[in-house]
Amino acid sequence: MPRSDETPATALKDDSQLQQKTMIAEHYRRLARVALTGEKNVYTFVPGNLTELLRSFDLLPVLPEINALQSAMRGKSRDYIAIAEKLGHSEDVCTYVKCDLGMMKSGNVGPTGEPLPKPDLLLLSYTGCFTFMKWFEILKAEYDCPVAMLHVPYQADGRVTESMRSYVVKQIREELIPTLERISGRRYDEDRLKELLRNSARAEDDLVFVLESAKHRPSPIDAYFGGVYYIGPIFTAFRGTEGAVAYYRALRREVEERLAQGLGPVTPDGELKNERFRIVVEGPPNWTSFHAFWRMFADAGAVVVASSYTKVGGVYDTGFRHDAEHPIETLADYCMGCYTNLGLPARVAMLTRYVEEYRADGLLVHSIKSCNSFSAGQLMILREVELRTGRPCGFIESDLVDPRYFSAANIKNRLESYFQMIEQKRAGGVS
C-alpha cells in the first residue's frame, strides 16, 4: 500500500516489489495524462471500494487516503496539515482529510511527483465512516463535481441479511450504474465485470495464502508492517487487473520460498532471525514514523502475525471471495464486509481467533487519535480479547499522518513494557 522514498524497508525487495512499484508508477502516469488521453477518474475510498465496477467502465480510481499516507511517508504531511488548519479545519479533524486537503491546495501533486487530475466523480461506497461523507462534501465544494453515494448498512449483528444485500444491490443497479454510464459514456458490460471479478478472486486466494503463512513458526512475513505492502494492490486501484493477479502470484511464490527455507520476515534492518514475540495488532499503523515504529518491534524480536488493518479493504480469510456468478451481489457483500463495518462483537471474535490460530503472545491495540471509526470501542475489544484468550494485551496511541502525535520515546517505553510483560508472564514471575 505505501510507497516510500526512504530506502525500501519491506520484505519484498524482489520481483513482487518491483511489479508493485511499476504498477503504481504506471497508474499515476496515466492519471497525470488524462487531459491528453481523455480518460476519466473517480475518487473513492479503500473500505468498500468498487474497483472492478469502475474498471469495467474504464474509469481510473484515485484513493485520497492512500495519497495522504504516502504524503506522510514522504515527510510532507506536517506541512499539508498546517495548510488545512490554516483553512480552518480543527486540530481534531481526521488527519487523512487535512493531509489530503493540504496536498490539494499545494497543487494536488501525487506521490510520484506528477499532478493528480480533478475528479470526474466522487464515489462513496462505504458510509460506516462519517468523516468520509464530510471529506467528499468538502471535495465537492472544491471541485464542483458529481457525487455518487451508496448507503451501506452496518453489520450490527455481525452478518449480512438478504434485505441488507438487496438494499445495496438496488442502489448499485438503479443509481450507481446509471451514474457511471453517464460519467464514462459507456454502457454497463456485465461480461467485462465478471472477468475482472474472476481475476479478483484469484488474487484474493493468493493474498490469503500469504497472510496465513504467518501461522508458521517462525512467521515468514510481518503481517502488519510488511502486510501493508502486501495489501496495496488489492485494496486500491488494481483489484481485478491482470497486474494484480501476477503480483499476488509472484508474492505467493516468494513467501512459499521463505517458508521452505524457514526464514523469518524481512525488516528495515534485514531478516529477523530470532522471533521472540508473536503479536496481533488492532488498528492502522502510524505513517509518519512508519519505519521507526517497525524497528521498535523488530529490535525486540517481535513479529506481527496478524492484524485487523490488513482487513480494512476486505476480510478474505473468513472465506469471502468476489463471485463472478453474482457480480452485483458480490459487490454489495464486499461493501458491507470490510473490517470497520463489522460490529464490535464480530471484531472481538475475529481478533480472539487471530490470537489463538496464529499462536500469538497477545493483542496490541494501536489507537488512532483522529480516527473515531477505528478507535471507538477499542478498550472494550482489548478487555474482551484479554478475557477470552488469557493473554496479555497492550495499548498505545498515536496518529495516522500527523507527526505531532507520534511520541517516539513514550511509545517505545510502552512497547518495551508490553514485551517485558509477556516475557514475565512466560517466565512465571518471581517467586
Partner: protein, 431 residues
C-alpha cells in the same frame, strides 16, 4: 555480603534499593535526578549503601545489649553527625568550584569577597543546621545549600551593593557542576569516623558496631535499572526493566495482596494490574500528554511560592474545594490566578487542583481494567495527604470499600521491584 541493587531513574528523583540474598532490604537511597544520569545513579546507590551500613550498625547495636533508648539515641546522633560531615564535604566541593568559576570571570572581581563571605557563613552555621532537633527543608544538597546560599547572598547583596542576580547565577552554574561530581569510594568510612569523633561521650558499643559494620564487604552482585531514564543507565540491555514491571513487583513485595497499582510520578501516571505473584497482567499510562502528573503539583507549588511538601497539608485544610477541570500544567497557572482573583481561598483552590489530577488518574485506572482489592498507591504523589484523601474518596465512590495501601517508602517501589529482578536474575543464572 552479596548485595542486589535496583535503581529507579525517575524524572524528578533517582532511587536505589539494596537487598540481601534473602530479599531483605538492606538499604535505600534517593537523590534528585540531574543531567548526568550516571552520577545520579552513583549518588543514589552510595546513599543506599550508606543506609545499608546504618542498618548493619543498628543490627550490631541490637546484639550489643545496649538498651533501646540509648541505642536509638546513639543511632540518631550518628546519622545526624554523619549528614553534617557529608554536607560539609559537599560544601567544600561547592566552594572550590564556585571560586574557580568566579576567578575565571574578570568582570566578577567585585564578587569574590562577597562569595568568600557567603561560603564562610555557610560553613560556620553547619553545626547549627545539624544540631539535635533542628529541622531542615530537605536533605538534598541542592535544596539545603541552595536555600542557605540564597539567604546569605540576599543579605550580602544588600550590604555590599552587588547584584543579587549575579550571585544567583553563580549558584546555578556551580551547583550543576557539584551535582555531577561523585562522592567517591571511602566516603562512608571518612564521614562515619568524623561523626563518631564529634560525640562528646559515645557509648563503647557504638564504636565496636561502627568498626564491625564498616568491615562487612558489601559486594554488588547484580543490578537492574528502571525508570524514565533507564535507557541511559550504564547497564547492559538485559539489566534494564520497564518501570511498569518494577512497580508491579515492588508493590506486590510491599503488600502481598495488591491487585491494582496506581503510580503517579513526575511525568507519568501508571495504572497497573498484577496477579497474585506480582506479575503484570495489564497496564495503562498517560499518552501524548503528561497533564495531571507530579510535575503539575511542582508547577503549582512554584506558582504559589510554596515548597512541594507544603501543598498537600494546605489543601487538606480546605473546607469547600473549588471545582477545577483543567489538568494541563501550563493552564493550571492561569486557572489558579483566576481563582485567586475571584477571592477563592488558597486551600480550596489547591484541594480542587488535587482532585483534578486524581480524577485523571481514575480515568486511567478505569481504562486499565478498574480497581481490584487490594489497591496500592505509589510514587512521589502518594506522599501528599490531599491527593491521598481525594483518591480514597473517589475509589470508595466508584469501587466501594477497598483496602488502599500506601507505604511510607512508596517512592522506592520501582527501585525495590528492580532489585528483586536483579536478585532473581542472578539466582537464576547461578542455578
Amino acid at each position: 555480603m552479596k548485595a542486589y541493587v535496583g535503581i529507579d531513574l525517575g524524572s524528578t528523583t533517582t532511587k536505589a534499593v539494596v537487598l540481601d540474598g534473602e530479599g531483605n532490604m538492606l538499604g535505600r537511597g534517593i537523590t534528585n535526578s540531574r543531567s548526568n544520569y550516571t552520577v545520579a545513579c552513583d549518588v543514589a546507590l552510595s546513599e543506599a549503601l550508606i543506609s545499608a551500613r546504618f542498618g548493619l550498625i543498628a543490627g550490631e547495636l541490637d546484639r550489643s545489649g545496649l538498651d533501646d533508648t540509648a541505642r536509638s539515641a546513639a543511632l540518631c546522633a550518628l546519622d545526624r553527625l554523619f549528614r553534617k560531615h557529608q554536607y560539609l564535604a559537599q560544601l567544600r566541593v561547592f566552594a572550590e568550584i564556585a571560586r574557580r568559576i568566579i576567578g575565571s570571570d574578570l568582570l566578577a572581581r567585585d564578587y569574590r569577597g562577597v562569595l568568600d563571605e557567603i561560603l564562610v557563613a555557610m560553613e560556620a552555621e553547619t553545626s547549627d543546621l545539624y544540631a539535635p532537633g533542628a529541622s531542615r527543608k530537605s536533605d538534598f544538597f541542592r535544596d539545603l545549600a541552595g536555600s542557605r546560599y540564597l539567604s546569605f547572598a540576599e543579605g550580602s547583596a544588600r550590604s555590599k551593593r552587588v547584584a543579587f542576580d549575579r550571585l544567583v547565577g553563580l549558584f546555578d552554574k556551580t551547583i550543576l557542576e557539584v551535582e555531577n561530581v561523585s562522592a567517591g569510594d571511602g566516603a562512608f568510612e571518612a564521614h562515619a569516623k568524623a561523626a563518631y569523633g564529634d560525640f562528646e561521650e559515645a557509648p563503647a558499643a557504638l564504636g565496636v558496631a561502627l568498626r564491625r559494620a564498616s568491615a562487612v564487604p558489601l559486594e554488588v552482585a547484580a543490578s537492574v535499572g528502571t525508570g524514565y531514564g533507564r535507557q541511559t543507565l550504564p547497564f547492559p540491555k538485559e539489566q534494564i526493566r520497564s518501570e511498569i514491571l518494577c512497580h508491579g513487583l515492588g508493590a506486590h513485595a510491599m503488600f502481598k495482596s495488591t491487585r491494582t497499582v496506581l503510580d503517579i510520578g513526575g511525568q507519568d501516571t501508571k495504572a497497573i494490574q498484577v496477579d497474585g505473584d506480582g506479575i503484570v497482567t495489564s497496564f495503562q499510562m498517560n499518552d501524548r500528554c503528561a497533564a495531571g502528573c507530579g510535575r503539575y503539583l511542582g508547577y503549582i507549588a512554584d506558582e504559589m511560592n510554596l515548597g512541594l511538601h507544603e501543598l498537600g497539608p494546605m489543601a487538606a485544610a480546605s473546607t469547600r474545594p473549588v471545582r477545577i477541570n483543567s489538568t494541563c500544567t501550563v493552564f493550571a497557572g492561569a486557572e489558579l490566578r483566576e481563582r485567586l482573583s475571584l477571592g477563592e481561598k488558597r486551600e480550596d483552590i489547591l484541594a480542587g487542583l488535587h482532585r483534578a489530577i486524581i480524577l485523571r488518574a481514575m480515568s486511567l485506572l478505569a481504562r486499565s481494567g478498574g480497581i481490584g482489592n487490594e489497591f496500592t498507591f505509589t510514587g512521589g504523589v502518594a506522599k501528599n495527604p490531599a491527593a491521598v484523601a481525594a483518591l480514597g474518596g473517589l475509589v470508595r465512590e466508584n469501587y466501594g470499600d477497598l483496602t488502599m495501601n500506601i507505604s511510607p517508602n512508596s517512592i522506592y517501589t520501582g527501585a525495590l521491584g528492580a532489585a528483586l529482578f536483579a536478585r532473581r536474575d542472578a539466582q537464576r543464572a547461578a542455578a
